[in-house]
Symmetry: C2
Subunit: 331 residues, 2 copies
């Protein structure tokens, strides 16, 4: 299998809930006006805590410094596992499950912190630029590694970057057990032809930028078991949307598509307190038991918490296996 280091230098930022109005102008430009913004990697995820915005340096220039904007200090690089020249989607399980043992676990073992961003099309593993040498050294046994520069891929050799670097031994990192939250809403992972993005513009703008102000006549939701979670990404021209079924009903049914009809997902949110960016092994802790049981999962990290999405029919067994896994000693 091949591992691509993509040609995007990413920043991970967070806009506070009541600060979004100040960023409407640049965000709408980044989402809808591809002719004006040079950004090629853009992701916006609303959670109850804040809006996580991951974007490349061209996109980051559009965001003015503000008390409402938090910026993680590192530059992150997106990795992407490719099998047989195509983004792999043929194996039974999809998402992080596929890469749990080959990428996630080895990086956790080497104390490399990752920021995961699953989309409809693929799963991006974001690693800090400064960790690139250890990443390459760790993954080169399993993968042919290629680095994209200006659209061209060239093979990366460990000795080019690693410079006498020594891998850690096999001792497992200390794992913190984070509380899990299992909200009741059902989610869809969808896409649409980027050329039809204008057709859903007003709905998407409404959902992204105005969903916190009550709609005329609508009663505020009393259901505290439902989580606010909406993710939009536009990466290298591909659109991915993750939303719950309530948000989905606002969109025209004929434009958004999903891989199989009416495939629904349930969420496991990881973390009772904000997770930060330095702890390693959080994704591994979740993805390993899923991989052991061959259960598909999307995984979306945000500024404060991590979120796994598993098939609706598996949520009971996943909940049990994650609770079980946590009682065992870290492995």
């Amino acid at each position: 299998m091949d591992l691509h280091i993509l040609d995007h230098r990413l920043r991970v930022t967070s806009i506070c809930k009541n600060g979004l109005v100040n960023f409407t102008h640049p965000l709408i430009k980044l989402i809808f006006l591809r002719n004006r913004a040079r950004c090629k990697f853009f992701s916006l995820t609303e959670t109850p805590e804040n809006y996580t915005v991951v974007l490349d340096e061209e996109g980051f220039k559009e965001l003015q410094p503000s008390e409402h904007l938090l910026v993680e200090s590192s530059v992150w690089l997106p990795l992407n596992v490719v099998s047989n020249g195509n983004s792999s989607s043929s194996s039974q399980a999809v998402g992080v499950t596929k890469i749990a043992k080959s990428v996630i676990a080895p990086l956790a073992q080497q104390h490399v912190s990752v920021f995961m961003l699953s989309t409809y099309q693929t799963d991006f593993i974001l690693v800090r630029e400064k960790d690139l040498a250890v990443v390459i050294n760790t993954l080169e046994e399993e993968f042919n590694i290629y680095r994209e520069v200006g659209g061209e891929y060239s093979a990366v050799l460990s000795q080019d970057v690693c410079n006498g670097f020594q891998k850690n031994g096999k001792e497992a990192p200390q794992l913190t057990v984070h509380p899990l939250l299992i909200p009741q809403n059902q989610f869809c992972v969808m896409s649409l032809d980027p050329d039809t993005l204008p057709a859903i513009a007003t709905t998407l703008i409404d959902v992204l930028f105005y969903s916190n102000s009550p709609k005329e006549g609508a009663l505020p939701s009393q259901d505290l078991d439902c989580i606010k979670f909406f993710s939009f990404s536009l990466i290298d021209g591909y659109v991915s949307l993750v939303m719950d079924t309530e948000a989905q009903r606002q969109f025209p049914a004929d434009l958004l598509f999903t891989s199989s009809s009416r495939e629904l997902w349930r969420m496991v949110r990881i973390g009772g307190q904000p997770l930060g960016f330095d702890e390693c092994g959080i994704v591994a802790q979740i993805s390993q038991p899923l991989a052991d049981n061959n259960i598909s999962a999307y995984y979306i990290s945000t500024f404060s918490f991590d979120h796994a999405l598993v098939p609706e029919e598996d949520i009971v067994s996943v909940t049990e296996m994650l609770q079980q896994h946590r009682k065992e000693p870290a492995c």
Copy 2:
């Protein structure tokens, strides 16, 4: 003929050019999200100087006070001339020309300041609420006057509002002669089905909010004879757009319509220095000679200047007659 005093209490505001980014959030709500905003009268006009926003009190609540926002202190009421129960559009000339002698001239004579807002559908004459008694007293000879309250119209009798008010004599107000500017661009006055507004959302957002940042690859316009002027209004559910032919080319041709195919207009901008809101007779000065010659004209006041639009084929004769008219003593 009937004159309607419409049930909107309007504010006239101005957003400075570099302050628009701070108002993108409320303005997009006012333009596109009719379910969320209760505003029923909204108009936004971009000129080289600023953005003039005229809106009712519900809409005005959406605009946060800011150093970038200027607000004229009065409440303004829109008047609308209606012939035979329909908004009149049957006579030969359209726009302010139709109401020049019956409304504009008498109000000027009574020193009533007006703010004109022509749209595709009709011409709104905005007067200050505090001038309402003199307006009614002045126009009741010519019109049956009805006031709209909660969708119902009731006849207004002069003695109900005028309370011993005496009209001015027939002495003409002192007229200032303002410089005229005749830009080279050609304008269209258009409309569209409000239900198709979402279909032009991204184009409209691009033109309104991002047209000052250069498009990738586009050269900045060197043509100083062309003026930046774009007006959008959404009033009682009707959309009106005034734009030049360059902006028009960005919109899908099948959604916008105009009264006659490819009818083009040229602009006469009134004022070398900002006109303010207190001078009377500016509209009369322009509309009277046009009425004398039965030349149609739209008329759009903004925070700084006034703008008349006349048929392209009449621009030479209009220019001559306006210059000529100014040399004669005020009449």
